[in-house]
């Protein structure tokens, strides 16, 4: 699924946080959006998924979704792994997965997808009847990814998935995202501060600074650029 974002501005109340941001994610491609705290990464994610109002044009496979509500955008095949994991803490692990599939109308398919994610992440299967708030950070991140996948999306937005995870878990998580990208032929837009690991699985990337895109290019190009190296790679 193709995502095109043209000149999108968005914010909360008084002023804009995003200023005419444009980007695109092609079919099956992993694109990373680098940016520091407060650059507007989460606002961009929320603008694309329709959780907040926005101006400009957003196209999903050529269809303009810039005025569509969040529910319609989910049904069109876009899912989001929100920042902080968005766990439904007082629902069980299994119920969290079922919530992820609320936009679907095929109970049998939902059931087999739940089993599929339980076999991908056996740790979640063991704890299927446990309240999701009791899971560890890493388990909640697995849950967030599988919950987003339960809507059978064709494009996945991930908002700082590495936040609060140990280096080992971050490695596992990104390996898992890469596997999903291959197995499901699915495009991904990953917002990250952990540039090294994000660039290692991405094909292209953008740099978001104070609400505007200041740089874009191939993952390799970006890793070599001085600005990215100084700010995000630390060498």
């Amino acid at each position: 699924m193709n995502l095109e974002v043209h000149d999108v501005s968005a914010g909360y109340g008084a002023g804009d946080v995003l200023h005419q941001v444009s980007l695109d994610v092609h079919e099956r491609e992993i694109v990373v959006m680098l940016g520091a705290n407060g650059a507007g990464k989460t606002t961009l994610m929320r603008a694309i998924s329709g959780a907040i109002g926005r101006r400009g044009k957003i196209l999903l496979d050529g269809v303009d979704i810039s005025r569509a509500g969040a529910d319609e955008i989910v049904r069109r095949g876009l899912a989001q792994v929100p920042q902080g994991r968005g766990t439904f803490v007082d629902l069980t692990v299994e119920e969290n997965l079922r919530v992820g599939a609320l936009s679907r109308r095929d109970p049998a398919g939902v059931k087999s997808d739940i089993d599929r994610w339980f076999s991908t992440y056996p740790r979640l299967a063991e704890r299927r009847r446990v309240k999701a708030g009791l899971l560890s950070g890493g388990e909640q991140q697995m849950l967030a990814v599988s919950r987003a996948m339960m809507s059978r999306p064709r494009l996945l937005l991930c908002d700082e998935p590495s936040l609060g995870l140990s280096p080992k878990l971050v490695g596992e998580l990104f390996a898992s995202l890469e596997a999903i990208n291959k197995e499901w032929d699915m495009g991904m837009l990953i917002v990250e501060q952990n540039a090294a690991i994000a660039l290692s699985i991405a094909t292209r990337g953008y740099l978001l600074e104070v609400g505007s895109i200041t740089r874009s290019g191939d993952a390799a190009q970006l890793s070599d650029s001085d600005a990215v190296r100084a700010a995000y790679l630390g060498y």
Partner: protein, 298 residues
Amino acid sequence: MELELFATRLVQGVVNGAIYGFLALALVCTYRGSKAINLAQGEMAMLCTFFAFTLTNHGVPVVLAIGGGVLFGAALGGVVERTLIRPLGRDAEYPVLIVCIGLFLGINALAGVIWGGDPLAFPAVVPDAPDDYIGILGARLRYQQLVIIGALALTVTALYAVFRFTRLGLAMRATASNPDSAVLVGVRVSRMNSLGWVLACAVGAILGPLIAPSTTLSTALFFTFIIYGVAAATLGGFDSPIGAVVAGLIIGVTENLVASYVGFIGDSLKMTVALVILLVVLMVKPTGLFGTREVERV
């Protein structure tokens, strides 16, 4: 004789407790939908009862009139949420509280203007003559009281089933648990909030007409009940339908037994008993008896 007295007080406690639990159930529905505590819940139920009363006055059979009142209540809940609550935005606890107090006063005054201040006789749904009762160990459980208990059992079972086993219920629980995240999986959060109010007011509209035959119908119908209802909902933990009902029964039974067996309390300090139970439970277990503790590892 001793046993008969005890049984009488127990039955009275259970009946009162059922009423408290019923009202608490309505409060829980609103809370689950939008984390609001609707202090005007009793007044909205009172308005529905007057509506049903007017229907019976026009020759509508009482059961159908109650059904009409429930539909009226559902509509009322939806309209109130859409016009008065939703515009306040999210995380507007205090503004919602103030609006509910305003609603309380406004609805009470409105009902007074339309139907007057004199108590009205509301027809019972079952025969309600002095000898229409079942004897339990010498205590009398009136048919109408039995109807209240039965209606409560049905309502709480139905609500439990909806919350537990349907997609809609799952969506409502997800909304209550994490509205931001619910938006992102495609749940229409504002619709879920409305639905909480619709359900709550429908539940209240079942209760009002069932208690009105014994209390008589006036604008003061829910004045004391709402205090007990809030107490029961708090004791039950505010997000558990079954907790609300059990807490209502605990309060009803305890206050009746204590009031009759502890000499200095009597009828005049009865409500204090309920509030003391509440205070003690909240000190020991702040989430109420059945509330979900905020479980979160960080």
